[in-house]
């Protein structure tokens, strides 16, 4: 990987002999780069311009009849709730998987195991929705019932339990499976980059494997894991189809995870209502999409900021 750090400025820039071909080519390349910035600005601009009618409309005209804020608020709660469950479940698992693949699995098959985990990322989200609906939701029904019977003193499990299992809890678990490969890929990359001298020094002093990981690997990989978790969070916030297929509810904002009247998420609400929406309904949905865009933008920028502080580490791969 030493070649990546080599300076890429060519030495020919002192004596400028600009041929037309050079100018055209450099211009095209630079233009493409600027075009990408324009696209991102365009995403924001077009969303804002299409959302404005809903933002400025009087409260009665917005679907629901009580204003845009009242319409979007339960969706924001639903979006955050599902994403946070996914994050809480997926992060410890992903760290465990990354440690297993980098330091525990037999060397011979470790790469293959990493590839198998990456396969989870290759499965389209609509298929995850199918699986969640057909397999996971029915499997979780007994747990929903048990939680409602025994844990109802926790507001999250207040019940009554859904009979179909199509709840925010199921959605959160499916989202956890979907973001697992993202977090574990980044965690794997940082863990494998932990300085070999530190690791060997720890082992040479008689540390067990776990003590070596605790002293040499985890401190080094901490910020990478945090960044990976935030990228996973961004993905979970914007996930659409799995939520749209599994979640049956459309209720008010609630923290209750196991009823059948959970609030939907922003993305799935758009996907389900957009094809039939007309007039101001379209603008309202685009306005909610703008909110989602801003939330994910903030999360991603924070994650990228944390990743970029580690100069030698690229999180995109």
């Amino acid at each position: 990987m030493t070649a990546t750090k080599a300076p890429t400025e060519p030495p020919s820039q002192q004596r400028v002999v600009r041929r037309p071909g050079d100018r055209v080519f450099a211009g095209t390349a630079k233009g493409s780069g600027i075009f990408i910035l324009l696209v991102l600005a365009g995403v924001a601009a077009f969303l804002i311009s299409e959302a404005l009618p809903a933002i400025t409309a009087s409260a009665e005209d917005v679907p629901g009849g009580e204003g845009l804020g009242h319409y979007v608020w339960p969706l924001i709660v639903g979006t955050l709730l599902g994403a946070v469950i996914a994050l809480l479940v997926a992060t410890p698992l992903a760290v465990g998987i990354a440690l297993y693949v980098t330091y525990y699995a037999p060397r011979r098959i470790a790469a293959a195991m990493g590839y198998v985990i990456d396969l989870l990322a290759a499965i389209p989200s609509v298929v995850y929705g199918f699986w969640g609906l057909a397999v996971l939701a029915p499997q979780l029904v007994p747990f929903h019932q048990w939680a409602a019977d025994n844990l109802s003193w926790i507001p999250l499990f207040a019940g009554p339990a859904s009979a179909s299992g199509r709840t925010m809890l199921t959605v959160g678990l499916v989202l956890a499976v979907m973001i697992l490969p993202i977090i574990s890929a980044i965690a794997r990359e940082v863990f494998s980059q932990a300085p070999a001298l530190h690791r060997e020094a720890a082992l040479a002093l008689g540390a067990t494997r776990w003590e070596m990981i605790k002293m040499a690997v985890l401190p080094y990989g901490k910020s990478g894991v945090i960044a990976g978790a935030m990228l996973g969070l961004g993905r979970a916030l914007g996930e659409t189809m799995a939520v749209a297929i599994i979640l049956s509810g459309g209720g008010a904002a609630t923290l209750n995870l196991i009823t059948s009247s959970n609030p939907s998420t922003i993305a799935s609400n758009i996907a389900l209502k957009f094809p039939e929406a007309t007039g101001l309904g379209v603008n309202t949905l685009i306005a909610s999409g703008l909110v989602l865009f801003l939330i994910t933008l903030a999360v991603n920028m924070l994650a990228r900021y944390i990743v970029n502080r580690r100069a030698d580490f690229s999180g995109a791969n």
Binding site: A3, T4, E9, P10, S12, G21, D22, F25, A26, A29, S32, G33, I34, F35, I36, L37, L40, G42, V43, F46, S49, E50, P92, L93, G96, Y100, V101, I117, A122, I123, P124, S125, V127, F130, W131, V135, L136, A207, T208, R209, W210, E211, M215, A216, Y220, S223, E239, T240, A244, I245, I270, A271, P275, I286, G289, L292, L297, N308, A316, N317
Partner: protein
Amino acid sequence: MSTDTRSEPRLAASPEGPVRSHRRLPRFAPLGLYLAGIALGAGLSALTGFSVTSTVVYGVILGTAAVYLTSRTVEGSRKGTDRLVTCLVTTAFGIAMIPLVSLVYTVLDKGLARLDGDFFSNSMYRVVGEGGGAYHAILGTLIITLVATVISVPIGLFTAIYLVEYGTGRLKRAITFFVDVMTGIPSIVAGLFAFALFTLLFGNDFRAGIMGAVALSVLMIPVVVRSSEEVLKLVPNELREASYALGVPKWRTVVKVVLPTAIAGLGTGVTLSVARVVGETAPLLITVGLITGTNLNPFDGRMATLPVFAFYQLTQPGTATQAFLDRAWTAALVLIIFVMALNILARLISRFFAPKTGR
């Protein structure tokens, strides 16, 4: 950043003090103990009404406990903790395998029923019950993905060339940062963007495959840029310098030296980016929609695509519910096959077209 990793190892300060004994468990003892724990778990599960789930849950807990407690007693607490963590980490990997295996099994189980010739040769035109297929949706997915690739690859590749060969200063940093941020745009937002763009340009009722292709491009471009950039960076600088020394203009150096050297990696990156968008549903759902007939013109009218087809077959089954569900699962299976084929293709490209550099 990593200053805290430089703290000296504090082995002696470990709370339980030095290892009390040097006794070690025989080599296969932990595995045996673990299996014994699982057998015990099966027994426990049989007492409370046998089920596979409870067997696995009880077995893993008891197996872990057996290994930990034995090792702690025989080998001391430090070694015991080490074995406990080994068990936990392996369990984490096992847990991740459950959804993968379950998902693949379910899709194969339910999808194979309709994986026949009709599925690939018939559309849903005038089909209300059994029969029909996804001919129109498969072609639609191929066309829209192809258009998205044609849009994304030049833009993404030129941007990567700019970043690696030309870019300096703030513009380069801004593009790098925002390309990274763009990888996190939710797919549904990309769909809304394409919808808003075409609504402003062509009016409210405009629907065409190109809308979906533009939405997919927004998702695809950052992936192409990132992967191409990584690959172009790997091209040794000596090759460029040798070319400059021979008086070759910079743009010809890029076209004739840098790109051919990196072609395998570029091919892999583009293939993976196609795999990333081919299964996208949400942006196509809200822009292109779905029709039952075959529309091969991406610039006029709605088109059917495989993911959207699968979604509607599942969520809006007609009177012959089972026929719709079968088609949905088969579409999901075909979609997975597409994505897996692209992933394997990417691996083959990187294996067979890799440049023969000295590294």
